[in-house]
């Protein structure tokens, strides 16, 4: 098996060999996954309004990779009721974004459909002891009996991770919030709903500025909605937002206060041969991500991922087919509502590889330089601890290999919508329904080629000292 492993690694067909290191099993469907800027922390939000944060253990000699363990769990949002509209507001966490603060504490923004909250996650590992104001039973002493001054001493205690809401940004969105993005100035952030984008100061909760407004005078003239918005990673005046019509706009906040006029419009002419009833749905952009370099934009629509050069608006520089075999099945996917699934996409740290999810618990990776791509599966059956992921293949007609999967046997209930890539290393987090998978590439950045263990040992998460409790 070692032999097979080494061969696999050198196999030119796959450029990544991942092995699985963690799965955790929260009670609810995971709705967002996000690494922080260093990759030390991974936050997940779920449909029940909870946030679970994982921390990476420092690498030790025994485990040549650092593993992620649960660091903190807290309830961020609760279900609410809008009495005016007689609508329930779901507590599902739509997005989490970490703040790039250099502090012993960690800050993140979490949002549901209507309200954004800033959470502070801090550690406490010391406790002050030695007060002489209370007696042994804790009752306040009569101060006249206190005759000496005693300075409390900090003594170590078990690590306690506390999460506290520091800001609540509410009542600014009439429509459902789909994105939040922290500006590179670390002072402001944007929140976007279907029709509007608002700019906030992280310290001011009772005021926000509207910077994009797509709401028409007459709602019957509505032709497009905002699907995702993101700030440029370096230029604090630039933001991008995508729409349901398949266009992505780049806006410059220096140009005017209201950025309805875009600075750039990225749109590819539709292929007339692919025209169908569902062309509009299929072209709706479900995710937008700037590359780490800030030079490129990655957009995801239902069937493809596209890389755009910010300097060229009329067409993408690269287009990758995620699951083109679904093009003939759009009608049944429409009936089952699967056609409305919003897949996310991700860059790796060096912007050389793109990742996105698909159905049947498959996710896809595309290497931009070599144009090689791979399909991998995230499921309990195949993910034994430290097992190397085997590539998958979906075939339209006859199976050429036994491991091929026919299009008709794909399970469309198993969808990977949320994926995240560590900002620096080849570690990926995949959310498959209520399971979180973390995979790491065998080739670690510092060049160690340790022989991985193929034997399936009991998954570590079962033997953790503090098993996840939800």
């Amino acid at each position: 098996s070692e032999h097979a492993c080494a061969g696999f690694y050198q196999n030119k067909k796959t450029f990544f060999s991942f092995f699985f290191i963690l799965v955790c099993d929260p009670a609810d469907v995971i709705s967002t996954v996000e690494f922080n800027q260093t990759g030390e922390f991974l936050a997940t939000g779920d449909k029940g309004g909870r946030v679970v944060i994982f921390q990476r253990e420092p690498q030790s000699h025994r485990h040549f990779i650092g593993e992620y363990n649960v660091y903190s769990t807290f309830q961020s949002h609760e279900p609410e009721f809008d009495y005016l509209k007689s609508l329930e507001i779901e507590e599902r966490i739509n997005k989490i974004r970490w703040l790039p603060l250099h502090n012993p504490a960690h800050f993140l923004l979490a949002t549901n459909d209507k309200t954004i909250k800033l959470w502070k996650v801090s550690e406490r590992d010391k406790r002050a002891e030695g007060y002489n104001l209370r007696d042994e039973e804790g009752r306040l002493k009569d101060l006249s009996t206190v005759t000496t001054l005693q300075v409390p001493v900090l003594r170590p205690m078990d690590l306690l991770v506390e999460a506290s809401p520091r800001r609540v940004f509410a009542n600014a969105h009439a429509y459902h919030i789909n994105s939040i993005s922290v500006n590179s100035d670390c002072e402001t952030y944007l929140s976007a709903d279907d029709l509007r984008i608002n700019l906030w100061n992280l310290n001011i909760t009772d005021r926000s500025f509207n910077i994009v407004d797509l709401k028409p005078e007459n709602m019957e003239d509505l032709s497009e909605v905002i699907t995702v918005a993101e700030f440029h990673p370096h230029h604090c005046h630039l933001l991008a937002f995508s729409s349901s019509t398949g266009t992505t706009r780049l806006c410059d906040m220096r140009a005017s206060a209201l950025c309805d006029q875009h600075a750039k419009l990225f749109e590819e002419a539709a292929d007339p041969s692919h025209r169908s009833f569902f062309s509009e749905i299929v072209s709706s952009v479900s995710d937008v991500k700037f590359s780490h370099s800030g030079r490129y934009l990655l957009t995801r629509d239902y069937l493809t991922v596209k890389v755009w050069d910010l300097n060229m608006e009329n067409k993408p520089v690269e287009t990758y087919q995620v699951h083109d075999y679904l093009r003939t099945k759009l009608c049944s996917l429409y009936e089952s509502d699967c056609i409305f699934d919003k897949f996310e996409c991700a860059w790796n740290g060096t912007d050389s590889v793109i990742m996105t999810g698909a159905y049947n618990n498959y996710f896809r990776m595309f290497d931009r330089a070599s144009l090689r791509d791979v399909t991998l599966e995230a499921s309990r059956e195949v993910c034994k601890r430290r097992a190397v992921l085997q590539p998958r293949r979906v075939c339209v007609g006859k199976k050429q290999k036994e491991t091929d999967v026919s299009v008709d046997s794909l399970d469309f209930r198993k969808k990977i919508l949320h994926t995240a890539w560590h900002p620096k290393e080849n570690i990926i987090a995949i959310a498959a329904s209520n399971n979180l998978y973390i995979f790491q590439d065998r080739l670690t950045p510092n060049g160690h080629h340790n022989t991985p263990e193929i034997q399936s040992a009991p998954p570590k998460w079962q033997t953790q000292p503090n098993p996840p409790t939800y």
């Binding site: 809008d82 509209k85 609508l87 329930e88 507001i89 779901e90 599902r92 459909d113 429509y175 459902h176 279907d194 029709l195 709602m219 019957e220 509505l222 032709s223 497009e224 909605v225 699907t227 349901s244 539709a270 007339p272 025209r275 169908s276 009833f277 569902f278 062309s279 509009e280 749905i281 709706s284 009608c331 429409y334 009936e335 509502d337 409305f340």
Partner: protein
């Protein structure tokens, strides 16, 4: 005609989605409803475009009587094309087309189809519209497999059909593939039921007018009516034993549905609900 059945089905599915979205937890999803309404609109266009080219045109023939003048003049331009059409038609149908009226219809059909081909983007389009014989021949050869299955045609149908659908074609920036065919299947049934259709229309229209004030009620009643209508008409469509009963079931559904469709603005209902 499968595309029409498909359009029908997609419309009913879309309306169901819009209806269900109102009872979903978390309120109406604007994005999803917008996309569904776009699909509904596309399907509706496809459905109605063929409707005008097929059924229900006897009732409209008086209104559109002046169109005969135009088609007469066009007819004179293309006398030889009649033989082409007849030849093609005769390969499809056992009885040769002997009536001169039928000849005129085919020519007009071709003319109308040609003029529409200039305007709208259809998968059956060819580039050169000017060469009369060639283009007409091409049109004739393209349309038979889909549509010319019945020998009988009513004269007014074809003329009005293409005219009515042209403005729709022009008005839209993008079109679903609309095969412009001489769909004659329903005409025979329509002729036999022309007496019934106005009554049906009136009945449905009045019920619509009543419910117009309450947008919410119009929603649910239209949707439920449409769904029951689609249900009954589909059972007729699926059994292809005889053309006539199939066409009848289809027509009754079509007439009622179409009145609904004319009055139903899918997006407005979704917006009002939101």
């Amino acid at each position: 005609m499968e595309y029409k059945v498909e359009a029908h089905r997609i419309m009913s599915i879309s309306l169901g989605k819009i209806y269900n979205s109102r009872v979903q937890r978390g309120g109406i999803k604007l994005h999803k409803n917008l996309l569904v309404s776009l699909v509904l609109r596309s399907a509706r266009q496809v459905y109605l475009s063929d409707y005008y080219s097929g059924a229900c045109l006897n009732a409209q023939s008086e209104r559109e009587g002046n169109e005969w003048d135009i088609t007469d003049s066009e007819r004179e331009k293309f006398p030889p094309s009649a033989t082409e059409c007849d030849r093609v038609e005769s390969t499809e149908e056992p009885q040769p087309n002997e009536q001169p009226e039928k000849e005129r219809e085919y020519r007009e059909n071709d003319d109308e189809v040609k003029s529409d081909q200039v305007d709208c983007t259809s998968t059956l389009q060819e580039q050169n519209q000017n060469s009369s014989l060639d283009s007409v021949a091409k049109v004739s050869s393209e349309t038979p497999p889909e549509s010319i299955t019945e020998p009988k045609e009513s004269p007014s149908d074809s003329a009005v059909a293409e005219r009515d659908s042209t403005p729709e074609a022009n008005g839209e920036s993008h079109q679903p593939p609309k095969p412009y065919v001489c769909s004659n299947r329903k005409r025979s049934a329509e002729e036999s039921e022309s007496g019934d259709s106005p009554q049906k229309r009136t009945k449905v229209a009045s019920s619509n007018a009543k419910e117009d004030e309450e947008a919410e009620e119009m929603d649910t009643s239209n949707v439920s009516n449409l769904i029951t209508i689609f249900g009954s008409s589909f059972s007729g469509l699926l059994s292809k034993e005889s053309a006539k009963p199939e066409a009848e079931a289809e027509d009754s559904g079509q007439i009622c549905c179409d009145q609904m469709l004319k009055n139903l603005n899918p997006w407005s209902t979704a917006i009002v609900a939101f």
